[in-house]
C-alpha cells in the first residue's frame, strides 16, 4: 500500500513538474505579458471556444506577438537575414536614427529568406496578418510576386515623406506596383565582372581587353586564354537561368508579353542569349558548377579566372586573403548584334517593406526617410563595413565610394559599381519570375546538350503557361 501511494505521488509530482515547466517557459521577451500567462489555461479555454472567440483573441494577441507590447510604440520589429550585411546595416541605421529619437528601438529577428517565405506563406495563408512584423526585408526577385498576390501585406508608402526620386529607376521599379511605392530600396545587385589579373597577363591580356566588349570578342579572348593557361574565364551554376536573365536584362529585353503571358518563342534577345550561352559552354570559355558551393569553388580555387554576377559576389571573391591585389573589376560583355544591348545588368538585391501590420507607420516611414532614403552618414558607414552598395543616388558622390580597395589592386571598385548601377536597364520580372527562370533553365540545359532552341522555347513557354493556369 505504501509503495502504491509512493508511486501515485511520484506520478502526480512528475506531471506537475512537467506542466509547470511548460507554463513558465515562455521565452518571449517583448511578448512576455501575453505569452507567459499560463498557456495551459489558454489551451483548455480554446477547447470550448467558438471560432468567433478565437478571432477576437487574434486581435488581442496580435500586438503582443509581433513582439513589441509593453515597450511602447517606438519599438519596431524587423525580420531580416545575414548578420554581416542586412542586420548590420539596419542596426547602423537604428543608431543614426536614435541620435534624434533616443526612444527608438528595433527588435531584429534573424529570419533567413527561405524561412521568411515559409512564415509569410503560413501567416498570409491563415489570413492572420496581425502576426506580421512591422518591417521586413524582401528579395527583389520575389517582390512583384508578393505585391501582386498579397497586396494586403504592404503599406503604400507613396506620399509618406520618403523621397523616392533619389533612387535609380531600375531599382525602384522592383518595388513599384501600379505607380505605388510599396518598399524602400536597399542593396543593389549591380552586375560586375571580376578577373584575376595575374592569370590574364600570363595569356597576354589585361582587364581593359575585357572591358566594354561584346560576347563575340569575349569568346575570342576566352578561347585564347583557355588554350594558353587552361583556365575558363568565368562560370555559372548549372540548372539555374539567373545568368541568362542577366544577359536579357543587360540588353533591355523582356520575358513577358503585354498581356502577361510568357514571351519566349521568337524573342530575339532571349534567343541570342541562349545562343551565346551555348557557345560559351561549347568553347569551354564558361565553366559550370553543379551546386552553389561548386560554383563558388570554380573561382576561389582555380578552375576559372573570374566570375560575372551581382556585386555581392565580391564577398566570396575576397574570401581568400592570399589572393589580395590579384583581382580586378570591370563590366560584363554585351550581346552582339542587338541594338539595345548594354554592358550593365543586375542580379539580386533587396528592398525594405513596411507591412500593413506596422503599428506606427509614421515612425517607420520617418526612420527610413532619415536613414536608407536620406542619410549619407549611413551609407558611408555600411559601405566599408559590409560592402553594401547603395541604390540611393546621392550616396555615390560620397568620398567613401572613391576609396581604393587593396584586394582589387587599389582600384576604386565602389565608384565603378555605382557608375554601372546607374546604367542598368529596367527589367520586368512579373509574378511568375521563378517559374520562368526554372523553365528557361531546363531549356538552357537541353540546348547546351544539342536540342533545338525554338522547340525548347516552345516547351518552356508551355510549361510556364501551365504553371500560370493558362
Amino acid at each position: 500500500m505504501k509503495r502504491k501511494l509512493l508511486g501515485m505521488l511520484l506520478t502526480v509530482s512528475m506531471t506537475a513538474t512537467i506542466l509547470a515547466g511548460c507554463g513558465g517557459a515562455a521565452p518571449a521577451a517583448g511578448a512576455g505579458g501575453a505569452d507567459s500567462s499560463s498557456p495551459e489555461t489558454q489551451t483548455s479555454d480554446t477547447a470550448g471556444a467558438s471560432a468567433e472567440d478565437a478571432k477576437e483573441a487574434d486581435t488581442q494577441d496580435a500586438s503582443a506577438d509581433t513582439g513589441s507590447a509593453g515597450s511602447g510604440d517606438s519599438t519596431l520589429t524587423v525580420w531580416t537575414w545575414d548578420p554581416n550585411f542586412n542586420i548590420y546595416s539596419i542596426t547602423e541605421a537604428e543608431k543614426i536614427y536614435q541620435k534624434e529619437n533616443p526612444d527608438f528601438k528595433l527588435e531584429i529577428v534573424e529570419t533567413p529568406w527561405e524561412d521568411m517565405q515559409t512564415n509569410l506563406g503560413t501567416i498570409l495563408g491563415s489570413g492572420n496578418l496581425s502576426q506580421l512584423p512591422d518591417i521586413l526585408l524582401m528579395q527583389d526577385f520575389a517582390f512583384q510576386k508578393y505585391a501582386i498576390t498579397y497586396p494586403d501585406m504592404f503599406t503604400d508608402l507613396t506620399g509618406s515623406g520618403i523621397d523616392f526620386s533619389k533612387f535609380g529607376p531600375g531599382k525602384l521599379g522592383e518595388s513599384t506596383v501600379d505607380g505605388k511605392n510599396l518598399g524602400v530600396p536597399f542593396d543593389a545587385g549591380t552586375e560586375v565582372a571580376c578577373y584575376r589579373k595575374d592569370i590574364l597577363e600570363q595569356a597576354g591580356y589585361t582587364v581593359e581587353d575585357l572591358t566594354d566588349i561584346d560576347w563575340d570578342k569575349f569568346i575570342e579572348i576566352g578561347k585564347d586564354v583557355k588554350a594558353k593557361t587552361g583556365y575558363s574565364l568565368f562560370s555559372t551554376q548549372a540548372g539555374s537561368a539567373d545568368f541568362i536573365m542577366q544577359m536579357i536584362q543587360s540588353a533591355g529585353g523582356k520575358i513577358w508579353k503585354d498581356d502577361g503571358t510568357p514571351d519566349f518563342v521568337g524573342n530575339e534577345i532571349l534567343v541570342k542569349s541562349l545562343e551565346t550561352y551555348k557557345e560559351l559552354f561549347d568553347t569551354g570559355v564558361m565553366d559550370t558548377g553543379n551546386s552553389w558551393d561548386e560554383y563558388i569553388a570554380t573561382f576561389t580555387s582555380g578552375k576559372t579566372l573570374g566570375t560575372i554576377n551581382g556585386c555581392w559576389i565580391i564577398a566570396s571573391v575576397q574570401a581568400d586573403e592570399t589572393q589580395s591585389g590579384l583581382w580586378s573589376l570591370t563590366n560584363m560583355p554585351k550581346l552582339s548584334g542587338i541594338s539595345s544591348a548594354t554592358n550593365y545588368s543586375n542580379q539580386g538585391g533587396s528592398t525594405w517593406v513596411i507591412t500593413s501590420n506596422c503599428k506606427n507607420v509614421e515612425l517607420a516611414s520617418d526612420f527610413f526617410a532619415k536613414t536608407f532614403a536620406g542619410s549619407n552618414e549611413l551609407y558611408d558607414t555600411i559601405l566599408p563595413g559590409c560592402a553594401a552598395i547603395s541604390c540611393w543616388t546621392p550616396a555615390a558622390s560620397s568620398s567613401v565610394y572613391s576609396e581604393p580597395i587593396e584586394f582589387f589592386g587599389g582600384e576604386k571598385i565602389y565608384s565603378k559599381i555605382a557608375d554601372f548601377g546607374a546604367k542598368v536597364p529596367a527589367f520586368e520580372r512579373g509574378v511568375y519570375f521563378t517559374e520562368a527562370n526554372t523553365a528557361i533553365a531546363t531549356a538552357a540545359t537541353n540546348i547546351v546538350n544539342g536540342a533545338d532552341i525554338e522547340k525548347e522555347l516552345e516547351a518552356a513557354e508551355e510549361t510556364v503557361n501551365f504553371n500560370m493556369g493558362n
Binding site: E40, A57, D82, E110, S126, P133, A315
Partner: protein, 269 residues
C-alpha cells in the same frame, strides 16, 4: 570459394559501407577545423582554424542560448510525449475492443497527413490563443505521435497477459501494473522511444521556425539556417555549428544503442 575468401569479400563490402556512412561525419569534423576557402577546395585533412571558426560562430549567433533552448524544448517534449504515448499504446493493446481497434487504425492513418498540410490551421489556432514563442506551442503538435503509440502498442503485445492477470490477482491496480511492471520490463522500448523522440524534437525545424518569432526563442537548427543565409557563407563556422548540434543526439544514440535495436524489434527482457 573457400570460407576465408567469403569472409574477405564480406569484410571488403562492410568496410566500404562503413566508410560511406562515416565519411560525412568525419568530413564535418575536418571542415570545422578549416577555413572556408579550404573547405570549398575540398581539403580533407584537419586544419588549425577551430578556434577562429568558434570565435566567428559565437560572434555571429548566440549559440549558447540556442543550445539551452533546444535542450529545454527537446527534454520536455521527450518526457511528456513518452508518458502520453506509452499509456496510449499500452491501453490500446491491453484493453482493446472493436471500437478501440478502429480508433487505432484511424490514428495510424493520420500518419499519412504531411505536416505542412496542417501548418496553416495549426498556426491559426496557436496564434489565436497566444501560444507563439512558448514551449507549449513548440511541443503541443508533436506530443502524441502515431509512430510512438504504434511502437508501445507492439511492445504491449509482447508483454505476457499472464503477468497482468497475476498482478491484478495480487491487488495491483491498472496504473500500478503500468508503472511498476510494464515500464521496467519494457526498458528497451522506452530507450528506443526516447532516442527517436529526442532526435525528432532536437532536429525539429519547420514548426519552430513558424511559431518561434522571437530571436530569443531560436533553436540550434534555426541558427544553422541563419548561418547559411548571407551573401557569403562561412562554412568553417557552419560546420562547427552542425557538429555542436549533432553531438547531443550522437551521444544519446551511442549510449542507448543496444537498447535501441532491441526496442525497435520489440524484445522482452
Amino acid at each position: 570459394m573457400t570460407e576465408k575468401n567469403k569472409l574477405i569479400i564480406q569484410y571488403i563490402v562492410l568496410i566500404f559501407a562503413s566508410v560511406i556512412s562515416v565519411f560525412p561525419l568525419v568530413w564535418m569534423m575536418i571542415a570545422a577545423t578549416n577555413r572556408t576557402v579550404d573547405i570549398i577546395a575540398g581539403k580533407l585533412t584537419f586544419g588549425t582554424q577551430l578556434v577562429t571558426n568558434y570565435n566567428n560562430l559565437i560572434a555571429n549567433q548566440d549559440i549558447f542560448r540556442g543550445f539551452m533552448n533546444s535542450v529545454k524544448y527537446s527534454v520536455i517534449q521527450t518526457l511528456v510525449s513518452i508518458l502520453i504515448c506509452s499509456l496510449a499504446g499500452y491501453g490500446f493493446e491491453v484493453f482493446h475492443d472493436k471500437v478501440k481497434d478502429a480508433l487505432m487504425a484511424l490514428i495510424l492513418m493520420s500518419m499519412m497527413i504531411p505536416f505542412v498540410a496542417l501548418m496553416i490551421p495549426l498556426f491559426r489556432m496557436f496564434s489565436s490563443v497566444g501560444l507563439l514563442n512558448s514551449t507549449l506551442g513548440f511541443i503541443l503538435p508533436s506530443l502524441s505521435t502515431p509512430f510512438l503509440i504504434m511502437l508501445f502498442r507492439a511492445a504491449a503485445r509482447s508483454f505476457p497477459a499472464e503477468m497482468i492477470e497475476a498482478a491484478r490477482i495480487d491487488g495491483l491496480n491498472e496504473f500500478g501494473i503500468f508503472f511498476r511492471m510494464f515500464i521496467p520490463t519494457m526498458r528497451s522500448t522506452f530507450a528506443a522511444a526516447l532516442t527517436v523522440t529526442f532526435m525528432n524534437a532536437w532536429n525539429n525545424y519547420i514548426w519552430p521556425k513558424v511559431i518561434m518569432q522571437d530571436s530569443k526563442a531560436q533553436t540550434l537548427p534555426m541558427m544553422i539556417s541563419n548561418l547559411t543565409s548571407g551573401y557569403f557563407t562561412d562554412y568553417g563556422a557552419l560546420m562547427l555549428a552542425v557538429l555542436i548540434t549533432t553531438l547531443p543526439t550522437a551521444v544519446l544514440f551511442l549510449a542507448l544503442q543496444k537498447n535501441f535495436a532491441e526496442g525497435i524489434t520489440g524484445a522482452v527482457k
